[in-house]
Symmetry: C2
Subunit: 427 residues, 2 copies
């Protein structure tokens, strides 16, 4: 993409309503634009980033046998009454349809989670133990009536979510799938560049399992606090810190009075997986005929991860004073070409040729073809945060060279045009 094709522009100052680092950076760079508190528009660069993250998640869910579906936002009140969550979930957006007819429910919820639609749908297809296990997931927009949405893309009223639901004959089968899902989650954070700072955190488990698990990315901007077992990627959250029995179970060799062994860290919750047991299959009578001919309730698990929150998390964790620093896997473009003398026939041709050759190789390339000063272009390209920059100016081109800069390390290397193309070719 050429910058002349892009309608967004960078700005030096962030919108004053933005108090979070992620929203400041992403809106200054033209990735997102705020419509109101907690509600953002994804602009071309932001949507490309979001899509890259969603595709990584999709790939990992497919690998463990998840089948992708798409469920609706509008849910009938009766489904939420059945689970007791119509009254209980205080962030539930509800509305009334004033055009009732016999066929249409009057009160509706905007779904913040989808047990209330996936459970009866799956129950409609399952008859026997042979039909299980099933894992169905979707990547879709969710809604929460957040009282104070001040954290940019971290805690929105409207946000993107991947939610998977699994259905099993018994607890043992759920446990085995839960392990595989845990590993799939670890893979997602690894592929998004957050692997080395994301902890598996033990949280309280509810009625049907001892623990649930959160994935927490260490960040000084985080709203959560977790306690890490030093030298590991294991942590516990506040709910578990006072539970001595749990500590003994989770921490090898734990003795009473060892809290001091745990490292307190600020973190961002980037995922949550949960064994639901039969809580929802009971509410919707989601049952199957087991091998022995008896009817049993399905045992369920759920697995959530927020792609839009990941955009914000990566923006906060992997940026510097000059702007965003995307890992290659999620960056909207692999490299940006800076033409130091737009309008000069020779530099224009060299840049156009590189742009064409790299695009042909399958690489997603951004080309700053504007007639702006070198200083403006350098600053903008740093703010945009693509992993590689190719700087082409008349002096280097005399010798047939360009400068290739790594955005994260700042390392610069002069090389021939051919070498630059070879280095940055391909997806």
């Amino acid at each position: 993409m050429r910058s002349s094709q892009l309608f967004t522009r960078t700005s030096k100052e962030a919108n004053k309503q933005e108090t979070s680092r992620n929203a400041q950076l992403l809106s200054r760079a033209g990735y997102v634009s705020r419509l109101m508190a907690g509600v953002y528009q994804y602009l071309p660069l932001g949507l490309r980033t979001l899509n890259n993250i969603e595709n990584i998640i999709r790939d990992e869910m497919n690998k463990i046998g998840g089948l992708e579906i798409l469920m609706p936002t509008l849910h009938p009140r009766e489904n939420w009454e059945k689970t007791g969550r119509w009254e209980k979930v205080d962030v539930l957006y509800t509305l009334s349809s004033d055009r009732t007819s016999q066929s249409a429910p009057h009160d509706l919820a905007l779904a913040p989670t989808h047990e209330e639609s996936v459970t009866p749908m799956i129950a409609g297809f399952v008859q026997s133990y042979r039909d299980l296990p099933i894992a169905a997931y979707q990547i879709q927009t969710k809604f929460r009536n957040e009282p104070r949405p001040k954290a940019g893309l971290m805690r929105g009223r409207e946000f993107r979510m991947k939610d998977m639901y699994s259905f099993h004959v018994d607890q043992g089968d759920l446990d085995a799938f839960y392990e595989r899902a845990t590993q799939a989650y670890v893979n997602v954070y690894e592929r998004c560049g957050l692997g080395n700072r994301t902890l598996i955190t033990f949280a309280s488990g509810g009625a049907f399992s001892k623990y649930s698990h959160e994935f927490q990315t260490i960040s000084e901007y985080g709203e959560d606090v977790v306690y890490r077992l030093p030298g590991t990627k294991i942590a516990i959250n506040k709910e578990v810190i006072d539970d001595k029995e749990a500590l003994r179970e989770i921490i090898p060799g734990y003795k009473d009075g060892d809290e001091s062994k745990l490292e307190e860290l600020k973190a961002i919750e980037v995922g949550n997986i949960f064994k639901l047991g039969t809580r929802f299959s009971e509410a919707f009578n989601a049952q199957f005929t087991d091998k022995d001919g008896t009817m049993k309730k399905m045992v369920m698990g759920c697995y959530g991860i927020g792609p839009s929150r990941l955009v914000g998390t990566i923006a906060e964790c992997m940026s510097d004073d000059r702007g965003l620093v995307w890992p290659e896997s999620v960056s909207p473009f692999k490299a940006g070409i800076i033409n130091l003398k737009a309008g000069n026939e020779k530099t224009d041709k060299a840049c156009e040729d590189m742009y064409a050759a790299l695009q042909k190789s399958g690489a997603d390339i951004f080309y700053d073809d504007r007639d702006e000063s070198a200083g403006v272009k350098f600053a903008d390209m740093d703010l945009l945060g693509f992993p590689w920059q190719i700087v082409a100016g008349p002096r280097g081109l005399e010798k047939g060279t360009v400068e290739v800069k790594n955005r994260a390390s700042g390392e610069k290397q002069e090389m021939s045009i051919e070498s630059a193309i070879a280095k940055l070719s391909g997806k």
Copy 2:
């Protein structure tokens, strides 16, 4: 995909609540499942179909320079007050947030269209005539408080929509882009297999242009009536039929009393494009500095097409007594393999080998590996509607042959396994 991986199943009877042909077929085949009137869940096969259609639309929008974005569902009331549509749009879903804070608007709309968010957003980036034209589009879920949503996927309360908005320096530039967008729409219907039955229909234009245009697919199940100029793909709708001046302008050689020349047809509206003029740029003061230094309002166009409605339209128009009949471009799978004797070592191996070879070639293949009767498998595969069927049984395999059937024409051909693979390889 193997049928044993798929959790959906076909059914002989449609849900009694479904009165439309599209919803009956799609739910019997397990493509969609009804959550409530006008609100559907897309199951694995349905989502694949929807994605194929959305990707065709995306490709055509990109070709005419559209940049993809993603705008929110939750809109603040004030934006809709500015355009006068808070009160005026009777299908607008509205809700109140009971958790107001200073930063959050109290009353919200669920957007059925996005002029109210795209116009101020674009206005924030445009300064000069050099920044125009801009075309931004999204593919996203929309909401309409439909009083009687009885037409299955045709008229939902929640549905998928591609909406593009274009911004221009003047009417002439809008007119030129509008022509290109018209051709892009024609390409979409052509690629979706509806080209030969989709008409460009003149409709009333509102304050800023003489006509808008609807794309209407001829169908006996259609809710609209259009009047076709025989032998052409041009039609007019009810709004225009009594406007003699318009008829003279649209129909070459028209003389008063020639209505009789027009053919009355039932049709489904599958797209709508509209010249908005400055209606919305005035409401949001969306202006730019023109060449002569004066400030001018941007001239806008909008271009809508419903991918979920297209799923329903193709299901209605291209099906037969036995079920769905997808064109290759939108079908969830290119071909389905029927193993006539699952459990037989030789047929199992032949089917597995074909499945592997075709998948390796890049073709999306469905494999019915269930232990069911041939009759059940034939009926199910016809209902599912993939364009090609490969039938493998012990008798043919003795000779090294399989039967390849075209779902649309019913034509069957016996051929070697190698020929079948060669015929159906690739995307």
